[in-house]
C-alpha cells in the first residue's frame, strides 16, 4: 500500500427521490491498515475483550426519546440502529441528575459526594482515578476524549488520563456537536487500526433546550409557527403535580421559565416539539460517528456504550431541565452494543442500573479490575444473558448533598435535608409518580425499610468530612 494513498469508503444515502453517493477519506499518512492477527484473539478466550471501546455521552436526554424505544415524536435512525444492535436498560438512573456530578459518577464509579463533585464545575477528588486514567494505566487502550467534560471545565484541552482530540464550544450544542463529531470522524479515518482505543464522544445536545427556554420564556398568544400546530406533541399524563411536594422541588419549579412566563398548554407543547428537534439533531451527529465506524471497519470490534448524564423534565410534573428525583430527570438511556458478544435488540426492564455501573462494566470488558470502592457493579453478566439477581436498590443524590433518592424494584423514596416532607411512590402502580404515599400508614413499614437502606448505604461511603452536609444522611432516621 502506498503510504500517500488514502483509504476510501463509499456509501449511499437515499432520500425520497435522489440517490446520494458519499465517499470519505482520511488525509493524513496512514500506517499499515491491515488488521493485526491478534484483533480477534480475544474471541477465542473465555473473556473476550473488545478491540476498541466507544462511549457516547449526551447531555440532558430524556430516556423516552428514541423511536425504536417507542417514542412517537422523533425520527432517530442512528439511535434506533444503536438500540436494536444491543441491550438497553429501561430502569437506568443517573447517580445525580446534574451535569458535573453525574459525569463524576460515570467516570469514577463512585457517588458524586464521594468524588466531591457535589455541584457543577468541580474536579473529581484527586485520589479517585477517572476511567481514562485507570484504563491508560492498566491496559493497552489509548484513551481519547472529544467534547464536553465539565469536571471542572466544561470544555478543555486538558483532561487527566485522556488525550483530548476536540474541546467543543462552550455551551452551544448546534455548532459544538458538529465540530466534535467531525473531529471523531477524522480521528477514526486517520487512525491505524492496529492500535486499540477508548474514545469518549461527549455531545452537548439536547442541552440546547436550556437556551431555547431562555429565548422562549415569554408566552405569546399566537404560536410562532402556526403551521406546526397539528404536530405539537400532547402533554404527558403526569403533567399535573402534587401541590404538597417538598419545598426544594416547588422552588425549583417556580424559578423555571414556564412559571415565570406563565405558560399555557400550547407553549408547553411547543417546548416539547422543540426538544424533540434537538434530539433529531443529536441523532444525526451520532449517526456520523456510527457510520464512520462502519466505513472504517471498526464496527465489529468495538464495544459501544451510549448514555446520558441526566434526563429532562419535558413537561412531566410541569418541570423543565434537571435536578429533580422524578423519573423524567433521573432516568437515562443506557445501551451496550458489541456485535456477536452482546445480544441484539434486547431490552432489560427489570434490572436497576446506575451511571456508577459504567466504570466497573468497562473495566470488566477491558479485562482488568476496577479501582477500589466501586459503588456500581459490572453489568457484563447481565449483558451476556447470565442469570443475575436484581439489585435491591440504587441511590441517587442532588446538589450539595441536599437530597437523596432510593429506588427499589417496586418503590421510590425521596428525602431532602431539613425537610420533613418525604416522597414515596409505588412505581409499579404509579410509574408517573403522582400519588405520594409517604403519609400512608399502610406503607409505614416499607417506608421505614427504605430509610434504613439509605442510612446503611450512606454509612459505607467515603465522603470527606468537609463536603457539604457530609454526615447528614447516615445520621438521618
Amino acid at each position: 500500500m502506498n503510504n500517500h494513498s488514502t483509504s476510501n469508503q463509499t456509501r449511499c444515502l437515499v432520500n425520497r427521490r435522489d440517490f446520494i453517493k458519499l465517499s470519505g477519506s482520511a488525509v493524513a499518512l496512514l500506517a499499515n491498515d491491515t488488521l493485526t492477527s491478534n484483533v480477534f484473539a480475544g474471541r477465542q478466550s473465555s473473556r473476550p475483550k473488545p478491540k476498541s471501546i466507544l462511549l457516547f455521552i449526551t447531555d440532558q436526554q430524556h430516556i423516552d426519546t428514541i423511536a425504536a424505544g417507542g417514542c412517537r415524536h422523533v425520527q432517530t435512525p442512528a439511535l434506533d440502529r444503536l438500540k436494536t444492535s444491543g441491550v438497553s436498560f429501561t430502569q437506568s438512573y443517573s447517580a445525580n441528575p446534574l451535569c458535573s456530578p453525574a459525569r463524576s459518577a460515570i467516570f469514577s464509579g463512585r457517588t458524586s459526594s464521594e468524588a466531591t463533585v457535589y455541584v457543577n464545575g468541580r474536579p473529581i477528588r484527586s485520589d479517585i482515578p477517572n476511567l481514562g486514567q485507570w484504563l491508560s494505566q492498566q491496559t493497552d487502550y489509548e484513551t481519547f476524549y472529544a467534547g464536553k467534560w465539565h469536571l471542572p471545565r466544561s470544555y478543555t484541552s486538558n483532561i487527566p488520563g485522556f488525550k483530548v482530540i476536540n474541546t467543543g464550544i462552550g455551551g452551544f450544542g448546534y455548532l459544538c456537536d458538529t465540530a466534535m463529531s467531525r473531529a471523531c470522524e477524522g480521528f477514526l479515518r486517520n487512525r491505524s487500526k492496529s492500535k486499540p482505543f477508548f474514545l469518549v464522544a461527549s455531545f452537548m445536545q439536547p442541552h440546547d433546550i436550556c437556551e431555547w427556554l431562555r429565548l422562549n420564556m415569554e408566552n405569546t398568544e399566537r404560536l410562532r409557527y402556526p403551521e406546526i400546530a397539528d404536530e405539537l406533541p400532547e402533554l404527558p399524563d403526569n403533567f399535573e403535580f402534587d401541590r404538597n411536594e417538598p419545598d426544594d422541588i416547588r422552588q425549583r419549579r417556580r424559578g423555571n421559565e414556564p412559571a415565570k412566563g406563565k405558560w399555557d398548554k400550547k407553549q408547553w407543547r411547543y417546548y416539547r416539539w422543540s426538544y424533540y428537534r434537538n434530539i433529531e439533531y443529536l441523532d444525526a451527529e451520532v449517526g456520523r460517528i456510527l457510520q464512520t465506524l462502519e466505513d472504517c471497519g471498526y464496527a465489529r470490534d468495538t464495544l459501544i456504550v451510549f448514555t446520558t448524564d441526566h434526563g429532562e423534565g419535558l413537561a412531566h410534573h410541569q418541570m423543565v431541565r434537571k435536578s429533580s428525583f422524578y423519573d423524567e430527570a433521573e432516568k437515562v438511556s443506557l445501551i451496550f452494543s458489541w456485535p456477536g458478544y452482546i445480544p441484539e435488540n434486547r431490552t432489560d426492564t427489570t434490572q436497576l442500573v446506575s451511571g456508577m455501573d459504567i466504570t466497573p462494566t468497562l473495566c470488566d470488558y477491558a479485562g482488568i479490575k476496577p479501582p477500589k470502592n466501586m459503588r456500581g457493579r459490572s453489568l457484563r453478566p447481565i449483558l451476556e444473558g447470565k442469570s443475575v439477581p436484581a439489585k435491591n436498590f440504587i441511590v441517587s443524590e442532588v446538589s450539595n448533598n441536599t437530597g437523596r433518592m432510593v429506588r427499589t424494584p417496586s418503590f421510590k423514596y425521596i428525602t431532602y435535608k431539613d425537610n420533613s416532607v418525604e416522597q414515596f411512590f409505588d412505581m409499579k402502580t404509579d410509574p408517573g409518580e403522582t400519588k405520594n404515599l409517604a403519609a400512608s400508614s399502610r406503607y409505614a413499614s416499607v417506608l421505614a425499610e427504605h430509610r434504613k437502606m439509605l442510612r446503611d448505604w450512606e454509612s459505607r461511603l467515603d465522603v470527606p468530612p468537609n463536603a457539604p452536609n457530609a454526615d447528614a444522611w447516615w445520621r438521618k432516621g
Binding site: 493524513a28 425520527q75 471545565r153 448546534y174 477524522g186
Partner: protein
C-alpha cells in the same frame, strides 16, 4: 469568599433582527453593491453569533462562513464554502467545500468535495483529525438541497405567500435531514444603523433542525439567518472579527 453571580436578564423571546440589534450583535449591514447580481458571481460573508439566552453575558461571535458563487449562466453554478468555527482553547474547525449546484429553485447539489480540518491556537494543523468527502446526487428529478446551498437559493425565491417548497437537505453536505419545508413568512420593518429597512422573511421547518428564518432585503440579498440561539449575520469584516 463565594463568588456572587452577576444579575442576568433572560432574553425571553426568539432572536429577530430587532433583538439582535438590541443585543449588540449587529449595528449595520454592508451596503449593497450596485452590480450585485443574484444569478451572477458574488461573495457573501456571514459572522456566526450565538446567544446564551441572557442579555448581559455569554453571547459571542464564534466563527464565520464565506460563500462564493461562481457562474453567471447555464444549468449549473459552483458554490465555494469556507467556514471557520472557533472552539475552546483556540482550536478552530475549518471546512472547505466546493459544490456544483443545479441552477434550480433549491440550488440542488450535483457533486461536491468537502474537507474538514482543525488547527490549534498556534495556527498549525492538528494532525490526525482531517477528513475529505466527495459526493454526488444522480437523480435529476430530486428535490434535494444543502443548508449552505439554501443561503444561495433563498435569495432567488419569489417573495410571496405562493412560495412553499418541500425538500430533503444535506446538512454540511453530509447529514441527511428529510422532510424540510420552506415558506414565505412576511415583511417586517426594522431600524438598524439609524435606518429603517424592510426585511422579507422565509421560514424553514423540518426534521432534525430548529426552525430557520432567512431575512432578505429589498434587493433579495440575504442579510441574516437565525435559528434558535445562533445567527448568521452578513458582515464583510467577519473574518477579521474572528481572527
Amino acid at each position: 469568599m463565594a463568588k456572587r453571580k452577576s444579575k442576568r436578564t433572560i432574553v425571553g423571546s426568539p432572536l429577530t433582527p430587532t433583538l439582535l440589534n438590541e443585543l449588540g450583535a449587529l449595528n449595520e449591514f454592508p451596503p449593497s453593491s450596485e452590480d450585485f447580481n443574484l444569478d451572477g458571481n458574488w461573495v457573501n460573508t456571514y459572522r456566526i453569533w450565538t446567544c446564551h439566552g441572557y442579555r448581559e453575558s455569554g453571547n459571542q461571535n464564534v466563527g464565520f462562513i464565506r460563500l462564493k458563487r461562481i457562474g453567471e449562466s447555464g444549468k449549473a453554478f459552483v458554490l465555494n464554502v469556507h467556514q471557520e468555527v472557533v472552539q475552546t482553547d483556540g482550536i478552530t474547525n475549518i471546512i472547505d467545500a466546493t459544490i456544483k449546484c443545479r441552477n434550480n429553485q433549491l440550488a440542488s447539489p450535483i457533486e461536491w468535495k468537502l474537507s474538514s480540518r482543525f488547527i490549534g491556537a498556534d495556527g498549525k494543523n492538528i494532525p490526525g483529525l482531517s477528513s475529505n468527502k466527495n459526493g454526488t446526487v444522480t437523480n435529476e428529478m430530486g428535490r434535494m438541497t444543502g443548508d449552505w446551498c439554501l443561503f444561495e437559493a433563498v435569495q432567488r425565491l419569489k417573495i410571496g405567500k405562493e412560495t412553499v417548497l418541500g425538500f430533503d437537505m444535506l446538512e454540511g453536505q453530509s447529514l441527511l435531514k428529510k422532510d424540510q419545508r420552506l415558506s414565505y413568512r412576511g415583511l417586517s420593518k426594522t431600524k438598524i444603523g439609524g435606518e429603517v429597512i424592510s426585511l422579507y422573511c422565509f421560514v424553514q421547518l423540518g426534521n432534525g433542525i430548529l426552525p430557520y428564518e432567512y431575512w432578505l432585503d429589498e434587493n433579495h440579498r440575504l442579510l441574516m439567518v437565525t435559528s434558535m440561539n445562533k445567527a448568521y449575520i452578513l458582515d464583510d469584516k467577519a473574518e477579521k472579527v474572528i481572527k
